[in-house]
């Protein structure tokens, strides 16, 4: 049975089974020593500081979260809130010259990423955990063909020969909806449209059927109709592969219908986390509420002004004694300016970091 056939048969099977068959066929021993557990990624107390000219910039402070096997989690926040940085820190993709990363533990699929050797971590990247970036044009090598860039992942992690990888690459392109493979494989990124490039990035990320896909603003650089197509593609592939997805976005509008749970970050901290339907319908943190109210909606406020959150996010160089959102918050009480609230449960699997926790409808 050749590899390609096996892969086609695998589609729809659960990932552990496919994992076994792949190991058997490719002869590659996977790097991870995963025991079955319900979370694929568990981050504890992740902090990232950037050192620049003697100044320390606190990009991420004491961030903890968990993603279950096959679960879709959205990480929401405005630009500069630390959401992308926190994801890059997990995969150790931040420049080591400027970024200082610390964490109590980062458990991915049974491996503690804070202690894993570079060479071991490398075997997980692109294989068990993949990443799709915001701008597909700058994220693809302009001098290599699409085919080369996708099959590179296969030859690196699965030990496939070039011709085997080519066959598999064709299937991957098919999977993400790019027709006319053999010609497309020889194309360069600049010959593709933005949506097609992002499809290529997705094909590349899913080449080894990872347990976790981190999608960092995958649709921001695309126009609205293409955005919807890409989100639909991601949703379908997630169901098909049973993989977990961490969707990083500033657009809380695309979260509904995609994510099981939603995490909201503000100024490097997690301010609210919970089941998506709860968070979107009855946010308990004023910042989440502000984000939701600033989405244009058809059903109301047609003539009125679109509300926006007043003020500016705090300067990340500043040390903030209280809640970082307090200066912009309509509910702020004196305590908010003095001490920083911790995440407190407000429901099942639902928490908010706020002293007030206003209970208002969106």
């Amino acid at each position: 049975m050749d590899y390609a056939m096996c892969w086609t048969l695998e589609v729809g099977g659960d990932y552990r089974h496919s994992q076994a068959s792949r190991r058997m066929l490719s002869g590659v021993t996977p790097a991870y020593q995963g025991t079955p557990r319900h979370s694929v990624l568990r981050v504890e107390n992740l902090s990232v500081d950037f050192i620049r000219g003697g100044l320390g910039l606190h990009a991420v402070r004491q961030l903890s979260y968990e993603i279950g096997v096959g679960e879709a989690v959205a990480l929401v926040g405005e630009s500069g809130s630390g959401k992308t940085v926190s994801a890059l820190a997990v995969l150790r993709l931040l420049p080591s010259r400027t970024a200082r990363v610390s964490a109590t533990s980062i458990d991915f699929d049974g491996n503690d990423l804070t202690r894993l050797a570079d060479s071991e971590l490398r075997k997980l990247r692109g294989y068990r955990v993949s990443m799709v970036f915001q701008d597909p044009l700058s994220s693809l090598n302009p001098l290599m063909t699409i085919g080369q860039q996708i099959s590179e992942v296969l030859t690196t992690h699965l030990g496939l020969s070039d011709s085997q990888a080519a066959v598999r690459t064709q299937q991957l392109l098919d999977m993400v909806g790019i027709a006319g493979h053999s010609r497309r494989m020889r194309s360069y990124p600049h010959e593709f449209s933005g949506g097609m490039r992002q499809r290529v990035m997705i094909a590349m990320a899913l080449a080894c059927r990872p347990a976790l896909l981190i999608a960092d603003e995958p649709t921001t650089a695309l126009d609205v109709t293409v955005q919807a197509q890409i989100m639909e593609l991601l949703a379908n592939l997630r169901k098909e592969f049973g993989m977990a997805v961490l969707l990083i976005t500033h657009d809380i509008g695309i979260v509904a219908g995609f994510a099981d749970r939603t995490l909201v970050m503000y100024s490097g901290r997690l301010v609210e986390s919970g089941p998506t339907e709860n968070v979107l319908a009855h946010p308990r943190h004023p910042y989440t509420l502000g984000l939701l109210r600033s989405i244009p909606r058809v059903d109301r406020n047609r003539r009125g002004e679109l509300p926006s959150i007043r003020g500016m996010p705090p300067n990340p160089y500043d040390a903030i004694p209280g809640c970082a959102f307090a200066p912009r918050c309509a509910w702020a009480i004196p305590q908010c300016h003095v001490s920083s609230p911790a995440l407190e449960a407000v429901g099942t699997d639902w928490a908010a970091a706020c002293w007030v926790k206003p209970n208002e409808a969106v």
Binding site: P95, R122, L140, Y188
Partner: protein, 292 residues
């Protein structure tokens, strides 16, 4: 094309009347008029330019005022030396510059990086003629390893070792700095992050993904530096008394042999244009975004 206009104007405004040098210092008015007509000098300037251009395109660069031999043949005789000299220095420069540039760019702040940065700033500060003199002092005067000067006919390629090094050092320093800067720039690009996120080894990231992209700006430098390289070649040939275009040109200047001066100048300008064309072609080969 523009170069030819400039060369032509330089010929035209160069001191010394070609008539005087052709028929003696005290010609009769009629003789001058006939001569001017024969040479086309009574035509308006643009017509003269076109006539001259026609001759240049046929390979006729005129005759030397002093030796009365064809300028084109003198140039052809000297051309191989200069071509070899510049090609060898370019080879040195690219070999040393790119190798060290890569080593220091990928291992920024490491030992090689520190050493190369010192070397490159020194290299940039030593002009080719001085480098030539220093090399002669060390390798010819003190160690007696290479000839201090002389032609290809006398010593073969040995005659070009020191001159090409002298000429290549400064160039290598420039290439080194550009390669290093270009690599540092490329390493911050999104596709490098993608390559790392794919789980590729540092080696694959560096050589498969960063190297080619980092080389593109270096190519541009090669094009831009060709003029400087030829300038250096001209001086270096004089330091090592190599019979190339440079010594031909400086000799011709000393003797006020204008057709020879301008013919050589034109050929050098043509070489610059040719290298830039080659660079454009190389760009087209490396970068799929550029269609030729």
């Amino acid at each position: 094309m523009g170069c030819s206009v400039l060369v032509f104007l330089l010929i035209h405004f160069a001191p010394g009347d070609p008539i005087t040098s052709l028929i003696g210092v005290y010609p009769s008015v009629d003789q001058v008029a006939i001569m001017r007509h024969q040479l086309g000098l009574d035509q308006p300037l643009p017509i003269q330019y076109l006539l001259w251009l026609g001759r240049v395109l046929h390979g006729d660069l005129g005759t030397s005022l002093l030796t009365h031999t064809s300028v084109a043949s003198s140039i052809l005789q000297r051309l191989p030396t200069t071509l070899l000299l510049t090609a060898m220095s370019m080879a040195w420069a690219l070999l040393i510059g790119i190798t060290l540039g890569i080593a220091s760019g990928f291992r920024r702040g490491g030992f090689i990086d520190t050493v190369s940065r010192v070397l490159s700033i020194i290299g940039i500060s030593v002009p080719p003629f001085l480098a030539g003199i220093i090399l002669i002092l060390i390798f010819s005067v003190q160690l007696n390893l290479f000839p201090p000067g002389g032609s290809l006919d006398q010593y073969g390629l040995l005659a070009l070792v020191l001159p090409s090094l002298a000429l290549g050092i400064e160039y290598a320093a420039v290439v080194l700095r550009f390669t290093r800067a270009s690599i540092l720039e490329v390493l911050e690009q999104g596709y490098i992050r993608t390559a790392r996120a794919k789980g590729l080894t540092p080696r694959a990231v560096e050589y498969r993904h960063a190297f080619g992209n980092a080389l593109l700006p270096v190519l541009t430098v090669v094009g831009l530096r060709t003029g400087t390289l030829l300038s250096g070649a001209l001086v270096t040939e004089n330091v090592f008394s190599l019979p190339g275009l440079g010594t031909l040109l400086t000799g011709a200047i000393g003797l006020r042999d204008y057709p020879l001066v301008l013919g050589t100048t034109l050929v050098m300008a043509f070489m610059v244009v040719a290298v830039n064309l080659a660079v454009d072609l190389a760009y087209g080969l490396i970068d799929p975004r550029i269609k030729l």
